[in-house]
Symmetry: C2
Subunit: 316 residues, 2 copies
Amino acid sequence: LPDEFSVIERFFAPLATARGALGLKDDVALLAPDRAKPLVLTTDAVIEGVDFFPSDPADLVARKALRVNLSDLAAKGATPLGYLLTLALRRDVSPAWLKRFTAGLAEDQRKYRLALYGGDLSSTRGPITIAITAFGRPTGVPVLRGGAKLGDLVFTTGTIGDSGAGLAALKAGQKAPALIERYRLPQPRMQFGARLPALASASLDVSDGLLADLGHLAQESGVRIDLEAFRIPLSGALKKYWGQSLSTICRAVSAGDDYEIAFTAPRRRLAAIERTAGATKTRVSVIGKVIAGSGVRLLDREGRAVRLNRRGWRHF
Amino acid sequence: LPDEFSVIERFFAPLATARGALGLKDDVALLAPDRAKPLVLTTDAVIEGVDFFPSDPADLVARKALRVNLSDLAAKGATPLGYLLTLALRRDVSPAWLKRFTAGLAEDQRKYRLALYGGDLSSTRGPITIAITAFGRPTGVPVLRGGAKLGDLVFTTGTIGDSGAGLAALKAGQKAPALIERYRLPQPRMQFGARLPALASASLDVSDGLLADLGHLAQESGVRIDLEAFRIPLSGALKKYWGQSLSTICRAVSAGDDYEIAFTAPRRRLAAIERTAGATKTRVSVIGKVIAGSGVRLLDREGRAVRLNRRGWRHF
């Protein structure tokens, strides 16, 4: 691999399409002031051997690294502006890998309309480590975790558990292309997320597992959440792979890496949420309700709480 | 080590002293809008075995990781507001290490008046990797690399080569505490840097080596820089360790990790620069001039260009 400066010039400078990125030729990036809107910032890293496999295609690795950050912005009701990229690479990484990696970033920059603003390129003897800081502006008041109110309904976008099942399939060497695709390439709900400030009382993206993440939301809001197990949306691919028993649902809500948006909203917003779901072509399901108390319960068809051995998947 | 959430709660939440950090209890941080000033953003990573030694004290590692970013802000004339921290740790890292690491961050947060706004904690099987994104506001128009004009003088803060000599001493197992301290704990020139917008035409921080970094400045400005070798400021500790011959100077300007500010300014600003140096207790030296052409030349006492084998130290 050529030196740092040539790599930046050749592979990364073309991604720096925003004026404030200064063509990656300075030590900093500049972001023009905004009179009214706060800046929403988030950071997430993906690490080879932990968050992706060494054999994963480099373009998918890049896009996953970017999308897990975009998902955080979407869940708060923000649209992305740009990102900073810290990349620790082994010296033996090939120009072909870098070409494919940056092609993945370029594709998602176009898709989600954001630009690379700056970064840092280091060499490591360890696993490839990709840390991204993404930033954007909210379309209204940012939707935080702490706003759920008694009587609110609980919603999720998309389907739950696909990514976890995809990871299980990959580890077992089984074929489940639709699920593996969901694990490798999250689909952050940007368009629906941008509408959240007008709809939701609290919101977060599902990365640690639906149950664990709603647990955070319940805690910050000072409420309890009751989920109806058989309302948790499962994809056809997941049902085919794991079945659709209660135990499948338990695995799905504990699996993580969904990058769907789980949110709460007053019942009177239901019609507006359904219209927005239609307008943004996003599947949205009512999965439970907000009541007094603390924690999250998963209820079976008879309304009995299901016991779970572990609440979601923890990174650390 | 306990799980991710306990670690964040116990060690990192106390660092999140800004309101927009949301107590590290949400997925994002919020930065209030500013009517007039752009946001200045920078990102840099430090990696165990590359940028610090596994045996280095954790508080110094943390402070170095933060300071290399603050140095970039200072060189642009910005004062820091906050930072986001991505930390990849091995599972065997001890609570004692984390305690010392976060104590180092806390100390520098007080010293430089900034706050942790958010972060991401991951586990890795590789070296400890610390990626920081820092942001601040400029005190005037940010000073970029491309503004040097013909006839400008070239300056540097502090002394050059200490950190490089400190690294050499560490590798050789030699005692040179003042130099090793400079390697382990950069001294970003925040106060002087904050005055740069009123003084300098172009500026950057010296991380890759004085010669290499001034080469970037010359290139972006479309000028040549002539440095007078015997005007390069060397510390007493460096002279004692490496001597003060021309070859010492060549090593010093190629060494890197100085985290001083190299800048250019019109000659008419000389008195104001000297006053500001005095007011901020910062050593500032005139080391050369900006002329027509390209590249950087290091001139000996007779005005002959010195040949160097390698131009500064490259990270990659």
